[in-house]
């Protein structure tokens, strides 16, 4: 190990001698990462970081597990405010506005300036780069991204006399097919629902965003200062959501995010709308034939994007920034992006990653994973504004009041709209 490092240093020194005049300064990097998927994710990220460390003996890097997304952002901001910022961190893509407002991150577009760097920044799939930009600068690099897809039980489709290769594409089809999938016992209790769309909390808002997008609307605009909640697009998405329960296709009232995959593998529901991050879980646990498809949409398919990106912090030396940039390039290289996607279920972020042999083997075994990529042209950023936590909470609460308490949709949306407009007035 030590010998390896020594040899590595010698080789690198020799290499440097030939190519560049300026010396490379040793950098000690600190890298915060969150975990939102099953435990092996920690191991995989550690392996990848170790591989970079090994290839760069002049630098050291310490990968620090920092909880979930929210906790990681809190930790990074607390540390940054105490002058102790990490060099690099994976944080929610939509936290860009908060991080810019707190003035703690450095734009990639000012650090990665060579032709090669620019090509690298251009190599990511377009949908994922929407939420990396603010004020003309690129602040983050896509890494662990997810998007919801439609999962369905093919055996249940067959049993209901439906074509198992034909998933519903529109909301109307969802309702028509959903009705046929509902199964009741002799006492009239539902033993199998037609579908399950989580509609509570931030997860509910995440899915609603995609439905609105499928009606050519958007809940928030790119500026981060505008919410378009009280619109016809939102109203039609909500009336579709409500009709699922009214038509007896989905359990009435609030539907939670966390219990949804379980309800699906247990046959409690014949289909579900949930994150592509559940592919591995469903694959490991489902005892029936299952498929995936685009989420049914209004005018066309539509889905929200979610997940985390790499950010580099401002308060570090230029040498550390350069080393951090190199680490980010390494972590997002096609091979590593593919490795990360395969071990976690996140959607690989570049076309090149989808061309690697590793991911081709993976999708040959699990063709259901391709749907998430193919759906990307119809996917758009999730709710993102300044003061995101407050704004998103107000919107999620309004949705919950409509769904679970039967509040009037139009009035609730209008109320929530005026509340968030007040918060965002400071930014306009």
């Amino acid at each position: 190990m030590k010998l390896n490092r020594l040899l590595g240093t010698a080789a690198l020194a020799a290499g440097l001698y030939g190519t560049t005049v300026s010396g490379v300064q040793a950098a000690d990097l600190e890298f915060y990462f969150p975990v939102g998927v099953n435990a092996p994710a920690v191991e995989t990220i550690q392996e990848m970081v170790d591989a970079w460390d090994e290839a760069h003996p002049e630098h050291t890097v310490k990968a620090v597990y920092a909880g979930n997304y929210e906790e990681t952002t809190t930790k990074a901001l607390t540390a940054a405010q105490a002058g102790n910022a990490p060099d690099v961190a994976v944080l929610l893509a939509i936290d860009i506005f908060t991080l810019v407002e707190e003035d703690v991150v450095a734009p990639f577009s000012q650090m990665a300036t060579s032709e090669e760097d620019k090509a690298w920044m251009d190599s990511f799939i377009k949908g994922f780069t929407v939420d990396t930009v603010f004020g003309g600068e690129t602040y983050s690099i896509p890494f662990q991204r997810s998007t919801p897809i439609f999962y369905y039980n093919k055996d249940a489709f067959r049993e209901a006399g439906l074509d198992p290769e034909k998933a519903p594409e529109s909301w109307a089809e969802m309702i028509e097919i959903g009705k046929k999938l509902v199964k009741k016992d002799d006492a009239g209790n539902v033993v199998q629902w037609g579908t399950r769309v989580p509609n509570l909390g931030l997860a509910g808002l995440w899915l609603l965003g995609g439905m609105v997008y499928s009606m050519d609307g958007t809940l928030t605009t790119d500026s981060g200062t505008e919410v378009q909640f009280n619109t016809d697009a939102t109203l039609s998405a909500i009336s579709f959501l409500k009709s699922l329960a009214e038509e007896g296709i989905m359990q009435p009232g609030g539907v939670t995010w966390g219990d949804t995959p379980k309800a699906f593998i247990e046959g409690n529901t014949a289909s579900m709308w949930t994150s592509s991050g559940n592919l591995a879980f469903v694959n490991d646990n489902a005892e029936f034939e299952w498929g995936t498809a685009f989420l049914p949409g209004g005018n066309h398919p539509g889905a929200s994007l979610g997940g985390g990106n790499f950010y580099i912090f401002k308060d570090t030396s230029d040498d550390e920034k350069a080393a951090a940039l190199d680490l980010v390039k390494f972590m997002t290289s096609p091979e590593n992006a593919a490795k990360w996607a395969i071990s976690t279920g996140y959607v690989a972020t570049s076309e090149a990653a989808w061309e690697t042999a590793a991911i081709k083997d993976y999708t040959a075994q699990l063709p259901q994973a391709l749907v998430a990529r193919d759906q990307l042209p119809y996917a758009y950023r999730e709710v993102a504004t300044f003061q995101r936590k407050r704004v998103a909470q107000i919107m999620a609460d309004a949705l919950e009041a409509i769904i679970a308490e039967g509040a009037d949709p139009k009035a609730s949306l209008a109320n929530a709209q005026s509340e968030v407009d007040k918060i965002l007035a400071d930014y306009n």
Binding site: A39, K62, Y65, Q81, A82, I265, S275, F281, E287
Partner: protein, 280 residues
């Protein structure tokens, strides 16, 4: 003068008793269910997490998997160190403060005590930022001592001990002083022994607080060498990919086992003391 007890009153009392017991039993079951459920899921494969099939095979696989998901051995040692450090410092500092406040009725004792109590109004989360800054300046980020530092004394502990010390009869104190005991001797031989139940109760509450504390240690530590079990446990809260209850519950049982055992061992003392403190 005594009133004859009427039969209906007797029946009423008996009914009250039955109702009381039934209510207690129902509450006990309600309270116990989550624990039973976590034991069930922890010892069964994931697919039995909602199928209560009594013939389902038992397994220890979840524990093995959970144990290997994070360096739990190290985390346990850290948590024990952290709890011991915080609790012993609390005992010493709170005892001395309470003793000073009760025995030496100096001029500003009242306002000073009020000031200490006001601290209980501040939620710990608000202090994370300032405390982090202090630790960063002291160079104590990423150390177990750094995690414990803001918790070495507590307003609640001072309050509890002050109230207990106040109930010690002045005559006991005076008698000891007459016998020639100095102030340390009086504290050690008169006040502390009388407050033993309070120490036990407060110790258990404190240990369980430090055992469960998560956000603060997560934020001020970066290395496994300084992190407590809760940080290891949080790896299982995987909302993006569906929660695996069998794994989560195996990890939870594993990390809470020492506390549950301690509670069972000290149960009598624990509950009795809490009743007494509550009544005061």
């Amino acid at each position: 003068m005594s009133w004859p007890v009427r039969p209906t009153q007797q029946i009423g009392t008996a009914l009250d008793h039955v109702a009381g017991m039934t209510l207690a039993a129902v509450l006990a079951v309600l309270w116990g269910l989550p624990l039973l459920y976590s034991v069930w899921t922890a010892f069964h494969a994931e697919k039995y997490s909602v199928q209560f099939d009594l013939t389902a095979p038992w397994t220890l696989q979840n524990f093995v998997e959970a144990w290997n998901a994070a360096p739990f051995g190290l985390y346990f040692i850290n948590t024990v160190l952290l709890s011991l450090m915080a609790v012993s410092a609390n005992f010493v500092l709170c005892t001395l403060t309470a003793y000073g406040l009760v025995r030496y009725r100096f001029r500003w004792a009242g306002p000073l005590f009020a000031l200490i109590m006001v601290q209980m109004l501040i939620t710990p989360e608000i202090l994370i930022g300032p405390n982090y800054l202090t630790l960063a300046r002291l160079g104590l980020i990423d150390t177990i001592f750094g995690v414990a530092l803001p918790y070495l004394s507590s307003a609640f502990g001072i309050f509890l001990l002050r109230q207990t010390f106040k109930t010690v009869p002045a005559s006991l104190d005076e008698a000891a002083t007459m016998e020639g005991a100095g102030m340390w001797r009086v504290l050690w031989d008169v006040y502390v022994p009388l407050a033993k139940p309070v120490y036990l109760a407060y110790g258990l509450v404190s240990v369980s607080f430090h055992w469960n504390n998560f956000l603060w240690p997560l934020i001020v530590t970066n290395s496994p060498e300084a992190r407590p079990v809760t940080v290891g446990l949080s790896v299982f809260a995987t909302v993006d990919s569906g929660v695996e209850w069998s794994l989560v519950n195996a990890a939870t049982l594993m990390t809470t086992a020492p506390l549950v055992l301690a509670f069972l061992l000290f149960q009598r003392g624990f509950v009795d003391n809490f009743m007494r403190i509550g009544i005061k």
